[in-house]
């Protein structure tokens, strides 16, 4: 076994291992000739950041595309606002935007379907009222009730001017009227006084009368005669929606 001193001496002889001087010199000059690394490199960004920075660099920093970008951004914000406004209730800041959307919808609806659409709006007002009552937002009650009445008046006016005798239209009107009646009762059971919807009743009365007159003088079956009697009875009781339901049965006899 070699002595420790001898071993250490042999270790030190490995100092003879040296790099080729030409190689060392070449490497040194190559390394020092490399680019300036004093500018810190940017940390690799997430894919999301790269996409965003690319998007903005393409649009934001190109002068000729700025108007396009500005328009797109405005449109996006506008649509976003309208989308958010759909969840508002009377008394909210963005509620007028919701009304504008609903009014815009009416432009695309036929004259015969308009009363039904407007009654749907009135039903929506009752739904909003229900939300307000549940959340106990007392300050919003008055505007919500006013909105409901405004919608009902509007629907009633349209209905009164309508001349359609199409059973499908009448059926849709009856359905919406029934929904309003049920919703109204529900809201009133929560302690909210909504008052009467005289304009709607008046419009329905007019429609029911118009339909009853249509069947007078016609040759009817026994069943139809019976239904007509029922319809008249409901009409006299001022239950115009029910009268119209019975009249519909005359138009579409149930088998």
């Amino acid at each position: 076994m070699v002595a420790e001193k001898e071993l250490i001496a042999k270790i030190k002889e490995l100092k003879q291992i040296k790099p080729n001087p030409d190689w060392a010199s070449l490497v040194k000059s190559q390394i020092l000739a490399k680019g300036d690394y004093s500018i810190p490199e940017k940390a690799p960004s997430s894919g999301k950041e790269n996409v965003l920075s690319l998007f903005f660099s393409k649009f934001f920093f190109q002068p000729r595309l700025k108007p396009v970008f500005a328009f797109s951004l405005t449109l996006f914000l506008f649509l976003g606002l309208f989308g958010f406004a759909q969840h508002t209730v009377p008394g909210d800041f963005l509620y007028p935007l919701k009304k504008i959307t609903e009014q815009g919808r009416e432009f695309f609806v036929s004259r015969d379907d308009l009363p039904k659409v407007q009654l749907e709006m009135a039903n929506k007002r009752l739904e909003e009222l229900t939300q307000i009552v549940k959340k106990n937002e007392v300050k919003k009650l008055a505007p919500a009730i006013n909105e409901f009445h405004a919608n009902v008046e509007k629907a009633a006016k349209t209905l009164a001017n309508s001349t359609s005798s199409n059973p499908e239209h009448i059926k849709a009107l009856v359905n919406e009227t029934q929904k309003i009646k049920e919703q109204k009762e529900k809201v009133e059971s929560m302690g909210v006084v909504l008052g009467e919807t005289k304009e709607l009743d008046s419009a329905l009365s007019q429609l029911a009368e118009q339909e009853l007159k249509r069947f007078e003088g016609q040759i009817l079956t026994d069943d139809q005669e019976e239904l007509l009697k029922q319809a008249n009875k409901y009409y006299k009781e001022k239950n115009y929606a029910r009268a119209l339901e019975v009249i519909l049965q005359m138009s579409y006899p149930q088998q």
Binding site: I11, K15, P19, I31, D36
Partner: protein, 169 residues
């Protein structure tokens, strides 16, 4: 920039032999030792520029050895992934009769190299640093992240282990 180049040039001159020797003893190939050594100094130069003039690299020696150790580890890790090649197709890494070839002729030196290569990695390092490069115990302790006492113990054990391997070669 010029100032940095000058100061780094001095660092390069001071450590190029030590780092090369350190790597060569671990990989036993001139070409690979050259590649790893040049990469070590390149990375150090990059860090040197980034950290200057505000935060200088405090211990350049430790920094260089750390880079070199990691590159050697990477080399062996990569080597482990390569396919086994038939002995018939193995070519010599170094065709030129460099100084390393002359050393290889010296059998005792070759024995020492072989004995060191058989040591575990931390013993190799400590033998090279303490006996070959004559670094101080505090210096080595700092690099290893150990106490001086633990480092002394480790030096003693490394030498003992080397003695055992050298005797077998």
């Amino acid at each position: 920039m010029k100032h940095l180049q000058e100061s780094f040039s001095k660092i390069y001159d001071q450590y190029i032999e030590k780092i090369y020797r350190f790597v060569f003893l671990k990989v036993n190939s001139q070409d690979i030792a050259q590649d790893i050594t040049s990469e070590t100094f390149l990375r150090c130069w990059q860090a040197y520029q980034k950290n200057n003039p505000n935060n200088e690299i405090k211990n350049v020696s430790a920094f260089l050895y750390k880079i070199a150790r990691n590159l050697v580890i990477d080399h062996y890790r990569e080597k482990g992934r390569t396919d086994v090649v038939s002995v018939d197709f193995v070519t010599l890494n170094d065709q030129k009769p460099g100084l390393e070839e002359k050393i290889a002729i010296n059998s005792e030196l070759e024995q020492m190299k072989t004995a060191i290569s058989k040591l575990r990695d931390d013993y190799q390092n400590i033998i090279i640093w303490y006996y070959l490069e004559e670094m101080s115990v505090p210096e080595i302790a700092q690099m290893l992240g150990k106490t001086e006492q633990a480092t002394r113990v480790m030096i003693h054990r490394a030498l003992k282990s080397l003695k055992g391997h050298f005797g077998q070669v």
